[in-house]
Every structure is written in C-alpha cells, then in structure tokens.
Amino acid sequence: MLGYLVRRLVQSVLILLGVSFITFVLLYVLPADPVRQIAGRSATAQTVENIRQQLGLDQPMLVQYWRYLSGLVQGDMGRSYLQKTEVSTLIAARLPASLLLMAAGIFCELLIGLTLGVIAAIFRGRSLDQGLMVTSFVAVSAPQFVVGLLLLYVFAVQLGWFPIGGYGTAAHLVLPAVTLGIMGSGWYSRMMRSSMVDVLRQDYIRTARAKGLTRRRILLRHALPNAILPIIAMIGIDIGIFMGGIVVVESVFGWPGIGQLAWQAIQRVDIPIIMGVTMVSATAIVLGNLLADLVTPLIDPRIKLR
C-alpha cells in the first residue's frame, strides 16, 4: 500500500511537470505578446524594452521555464503581469468560492443523477425509463452557458426566486450549482441505472425478495448501497470535467472563483495567472484521481492496490 502510494505520488509529480511544460510552451508560442498588453498602446519602444527585460521575457524559452519552475517548487507562482499582485494571493482569494461551487455542483449532480438513475432502473424498459434516458442525453449535451442563462432567465428574472448572479448567500449558490450539476447528472443517471439494473439481478436480491421483504426495503437497504459504491469512486475523476465547467459557469453567474480569474487572464495574456490556475487545477485533478483509486479498495474489497 505504501509502495503504491509513493509510486503514484511520483507519477503525479511527473504529470504536473509535463502539464506545466506543455502549458508554458503553448503560452510561449502564442502569437500575442504579453509585454504589449502591459505596456499599453501609448508606450515608447524604450518602455517596451525595459518591461521585457525586467520580466525576463527577453530570455530563451527554456531559461524562462526553468526560472518559473524554480520559483514554483519554492511555492512562488510569480506576480500577475497586469495586476502586479502575487498570483498565489489572487488564487487563494478565489479558491474558496470555486471549491464551494464545486462541492455544491457535485451534490447537485449526485442528487439529480442518482435519483433519476434509480427511478429509471426500477421502471426499466418502460416509457418513463426511456424518457429519463433521453433527458439525460440532453443534459449531457446542452452547453453550460445556455443552460445557465436559461435558468437565470426563468428562475431569477421571471420568477424572482433567486438573485440574478453574484455571490454571498446560499440562494446565490443554487443556480450555478444546478447548472454545473445538470451536465454531470446525465452521466450519473446512466451509470446509476446500469449499476442498479446489475444489482437487481443479483441472487441476494432474489433471496431478499423470497424472504418477503418489502419492495421499499429491498431497494433502499439491499440494492442502493451496493449499486452506489462503484459510482462514488467516479467523483474523483469528475473533478477534471468540473474544472472545465466552472470557467463557463463562473463567468455566466459572476461567481468570483478561479475560473473567472483564468478567463480574464487569458484575454489579457497574463501568463503567470494562466499558469497558476492551470497548475492548481491540474493538481486538483491529479489528486482527485489518486483519491478515487485509493478509495476504491475501501469500498470494494475485491480490488487490491499493488
């Protein structure tokens, strides 16, 4: 177990190194000059040159990458080109909002997805099942900015149940979390359905039924816990999809998280922020996957880590 953990951690570090290098190269070859963005439209050639030198952007790419990396291992993500603030400060200020949104999003997708999956499995083959599966397909395919604006329009503007964007109270959280959850709920309802269908075919369910247990007790006590376990392990992998989703959802709802930070930085070629958010997200994804793998054997003793 310990050996496995060490091996996986080393692998994780290598993956993060790779991510940092590829992102750095992509930003370097981008046909947009960050110095121009800092210097502005009225800058003299001298000002532009001064800024380029001070930021070390006149150095060869590998030298620049090495400098970034040496800072990174010491916990220094650099300063934003345009805001001049430490990137770590900016991310730290916004990370709680993103984590809250992500947790609420996962809660929503599980709540919606698992419920629909169980219902579909119970009514397997009937029109309700088919209807739900079509719905889940739509949910997976619908673009999040459309879903977000639609929910905003109906529930905030027309009905006035929730605030129109912003951050602060539990009411602010509902619509962005549901938007984020709807896409994932499509996947989960399909997985839950097949897992549930599998479990309901098992011998112990037939035994339970033969014992004369109520249908409700069979479903809630015998089938559901067994069907849900493999799905829990998927949440870790889900974090990657969520990281993509929050960029869109945070922008639509004015949610002050790292997705919004990244979106604004990309438009202005603020490379330290783009790198910082990428590295934090990559770390979250790598850790999420690792966690999912570690949790699996706890849930299902048949799986062993080696």
Partner: protein, 539 residues
C-alpha cells in the same frame, strides 16, 4: 512670464467655494446615500501609474488627483491640486503653485516633494507604467527611462508649495498630461509600505478613499470627509460589484438592484430598452472621443497604391455599418471625432460611390480586383461589421478573407505589420486626453509605425510629422492657430488615406431612477465612464 490662469486664480481666491466659477453644482444635489455600480471585468489595480482599463480609469480619478483636472462633464481644463500655474514665454518652464491644506487619505499634508516623487515614480522603468511615454517632453526623461538617472532632472522643488517643471521641448499638451491619471500625486511612504501591492492599497488625495476590497467580488469606496474641494462628493460611498456580465447587470438594473451598469447597455438589448419609454427615459447618450476605422497597410501590395486606398474608402457604406450597431454612432469623415478640437468642419471625406471606386481600381491597373485579408477582433458586433466590409468590397471586385481573432492576437498582427487591413472595433482609439495630437503620434505618426507600434497602417510621412511637431511646439494648447495646424495635419493624412474612418461611436449608458446629476456626468468624456464625485441620489 505670462499668466494664463490669472483671472481664474483671482476668482478662486475671492469666490465662496473653490469651484464656483468653473462648475456650478446642481442646486438640487443632496448629500448622502450609497450607489451600486457593476463591471464585467475585475479591477486589475488602483495604482494610478499602472491602471489603464475601462473600469479603473474613473475609479482612480475619484481616489487620486493630479495638478490639473477637468471641469466635470466637459473637456475643459481646470486646476486640480495646483492652485495656479505660470508658463515661461518659450513654453518650456511650467511653475505650479500647490493648494494649501490638501491631505492624503493617510492624514499627511501633500507637498511639492510628493509631486516630484510621483513624477519620478511613473517614469522610472521599475514601475512599468504604460503611461511613462506621456512624460517624454520633461527634461531628463531619456536619462530616467534608460536607467541612467534615478530622478527627472527637469522637475525641481522650489519650496514646499511650488514645483517647477522644465521641458526639453515645448509641448502644448503638457497641461493635459498633468491631468492624466498617470500624473496623480501619491505619498511615498504609502508606496514604500506596500511596494508593488500599492495598487491594492491605494492612498491618494481624491474625493473617495478605498474602504473594502474583496478580490473578484466587490470594492467599496467611502467618502473622503476631508476632501479639499468644498461640498463634494455628494455620495457617502460607491459599491463596485465586479464579475457581472453586462446582460446580468441590465437585468439587475431593471429590478432596482444596480444604479449604473458600468459597461453600458449590451448591444443585444439596446432596441428593447429604447422601445420601453420608462427605460429609455433613463438612458443617457453622449459623444465620446472615439473613432472606429479600417487601417490600410501601406507596406503591403496593392494597398501601397494611393488609388487602391481611395477606392476602398469610396466602396465602404458607412451608413449601413452604423445600422449594424443600432445607429449608436455617426459616420466619420476624418480621423478626429467631431467633438474633438481641431476637427475640420465642412470636410465630407470620401462619399460612398461603388462606381467611382471601380474607376479608381482601373486607374491603379487592377480592373479585375484583387484579394486581401481583414483582421478583426472576434467579439460581437465586430465580425458582423467585417462581413459588411467584405460585401462592400466584393461589390468592387475585391475579395476579402476575414481573420477573426482574439484581441491580443489582432494587436500583435497589427503591430508586426502583417495585417493588410484591420477593423479597429474593440481596440479603436479613444482619446487619453481631449487634444487633437492624441490621435496622431501613436496611430498615424512615424513614432507608432515601428515594430509593435499601434500605427497598424505603418504609414509614416515625415513632412506630416514635422507639421505635427510644429503644432505641438506652441505654448497655448487651445490657441485657434494651433487647432488650424492640427486640422491641416489630418487633412494631409486624408490625402493619403492610410485609414478608412468609419464611424464615431456614441456612448449610451443607463442609470436607476434615483440617480441625480447632470446627464453629462454619466457620459463624462474624461472620467470615463462616470464622474462619481458629482453624481448624487434623490432618496
């Protein structure tokens, strides 16, 4: 020595309030109340030496002051932290007398040493100020910007209330430069205490001070009770909520949650808003010092031929393009916008005439037309405008391929001189200060034509450059002869047409029913977008 503002200074001393003679405050104005303003993008910094964004420009104006200022809602200069000033006869020495009793937000009194420190700070390379170049006419600028000196030799503290600034050449725009945000006076101890984080902990002399800043969410400005101008600001404070899409901001305005949507009315909602009398009554329209244009790269064949550039000018249907943006603009005839001094009245530019355009192409030996590329920023409505340009040019046989890219990439291609044509939408020139010279140097002059410069036509005519230099060597910035010289400069430019001037955008913004104050304050040409110091609430 001639004293330009002598009369103003005398009036200043005798008038009941410091600004009575320059600006009549609204007699209905009432003090108190908070307002809420929204912006889409986060506020990057409130450091006046660095900030150069749509959202932080007017915020910085409310937190800081410079030696010069503008009469609210107008483009007219008035003294700011300077009480008066004199200019030497050759126009190279400016002596400013500072006001008494101006207190920084940290409680210390401002003095001439702070002025010197602030000018040194904005020009020194370590600050990385995008505005450093504006101060190039101060003696010693080259030495400080190359790192050879640590201080501007041309800025001299005469006594705690007097500062003398010597220029290396006459610069008619200098007083406007001293009114730029970049020339704001900052206290050294506060900058030293916060280092590069000064932009998050601003300390100035302005009408408001920063109360709270929750990164990515909200900034709260509080009234500066010790503000040196009597009677203002009226508001107790302003809450800025950032990260709000313009469409969301408009919906919140309609629900009464927002007082001013900082990014204006989203184009897609414009007609709906104007169609509702109640909402339309709260829309404020104003001119702005803006020109939207197509650059024609004189270094790329066949745009290097004058006849081809003329043909393109005649082929563009500017009326139709203004319709694409719901008529929120007026067709342009020349680089300067109509509200800018130096604008040439009575000049009609190139009329829309496809047949004449075809004749010009025949003259250029391109009877069969040619193909070229048009670069455009990829946000609405710019790609739609590019399509209109494409259709107009197709009608005279010119095949245009549209390259729709992110803003930074268009700027890069333009600076490198790789783009034959660029539609300026989303990156168009809005004046830094209301003087005709501001539309020349960086975007039409030789200075901007180098690698990376904003002169995307790469047009460089040394004789026109000489005319511009002559106009700026005059001492009185608003002298009629000077405006005539600038008018000549732009007429000379139009002879060679490195641009198609397309339209001058009008600014449309909205306010909640409780907002009071002159409409001009909501479309202030200088405190863009809103002059927070002078607006008030009625309840």
């Amino acid at each position: 020595m001639k004293t330009l503002l002598a009369s103003t200074a005398i009036l200043l001393a005798s008038a009941l309030t410091g600004m009575a003679q320059e600006y009549t405050p609204d007699p209905n104005a009432t003090a108190g109340g908070m307002i809420t303003v929204t912006y889409k993008d986060d506020v990057a910094t409130l450091d006046p030496a660095i900030g150069y964004d749509w959202q932080n420009w007017s915020m910085i104006k409310s937190l800081f002051d410079g030696l010069m200022d503008y009469v609210p809602g107008t483009t007219e200069l008035r003294p700011g932290l300077a009480e008066s000033y004199t200019i030497s006869d050759d126009g190279t020495v400016f002596t400013f007398t500072l006001r008494d009793g101006v207190i920084f937000h940290n409680g210390r009194e401002m003095s001439a040493e702070d002025v010197k420190y602030s000018l040194d700070r904005v020009t020194t390379p370590e600050t990385q100020s995008p505005g450093a170049g504006f101060f190039a006419s101060i003696a010693g600028f080259d030495a400080i910007s190359s790192g050879a000196a640590e201080t501007l030799s041309g800025v001299e503290v005469v006594d705690p209330k007097t500062i003398k600034i010597t220029l290396s050449r006459p610069d008619a725009t200098f007083l406007h430069v001293m009114a730029l945000n970049f020339a704001s006076i900052v206290p050294k101890e506060a900058v030293d205490a916060h280092g590069t984080d000064f932009g998050k902990n601003p300390v100035g002399t302005g009408a408001f001070k920063l109360g709270e800043w929750t990164i990515g969410q909200r900034l709260v400005f509080e009234k500066n009770a010790d503000y040196w101008r009597e009677g203002v600001p009226y508001l107790d404070g302003v809450t800025f909520e950032v990260g709000q899409e313009p469409i969301v901001a408009l919906l919140r305005l309609q629900q009464g949650e927002v007082d001013v949507p900082g990014d204006g009315i989203p184009p897609a909602k414009f007609q709906e808003v104007m169609g509702d009398p109640d909402q339309a009554a709260r829309v404020v329209e104003g001119g702005q010092l803006h020109t939207g244009y197509i650059t024609l790269n004189v270094g790329i064949a066949p745009l290097d031929k004058l006849e081809v550039r003329e043909a393109i000018n005649m082929a563009i249907n500017k009326e139709r393009i203004t319709q694409i943006i719901n008529g929120r603009a007026v067709p342009a005839t020349q680089p300067l916008p109509p509200s800018m001094p130096g604008y040439t009245d009575g000049y009609d530019g190139y009329a829309f005439d496809a047949d004449a355009a075809k004749d010009k192409l025949v003259e250029a030996g391109l009877a069969d037309g040619f193909s070229t590329e048009l670069f455009v920023m990829n946000t609405d409505p710019n790609p739609r405008i590019a399509q209109a340009i494409q259709q107009d040019l197709k009608a005279i046989g010119v095949e245009v391929a549209i390259r729709s890219l992110a803003q930074a990439n268009v700027i890069e291609a333009g600076g490198a001189g790789e783009a034959p044509m660029i539609w300026s939408g989303g990156m168009a020139w809005i004046a830094d200060f209301p003087d005709p010279s501001n539309f020349y140097g960086p975007i039409l002059g030789c200075a901007g034509a180098g690698e990376g410069g904003w002169n995307w036509s790469k047009f460089c005519d040394e004789s026109i450059d000489a005319m511009a230099t002559a106009a700026d060597s005059m001492t009185d910035p608003s002298a009629p002869e000077r405006m005539e010289m600038w008018s000549d400069v732009y007429m000379e430019v139009m002879q060679q047409v490195p641009w198609v001037p397309v339209f001058n955008e009008q600014r449309y913004t909205m306010k909640s029913a409780r907002m009071g104050g002159d409409d001009a304050l909501y479309v202030d040409p200088v405190s863009i977008p809103v002059n927070y110091d002078y607006v008030y609430v009625t309840e």
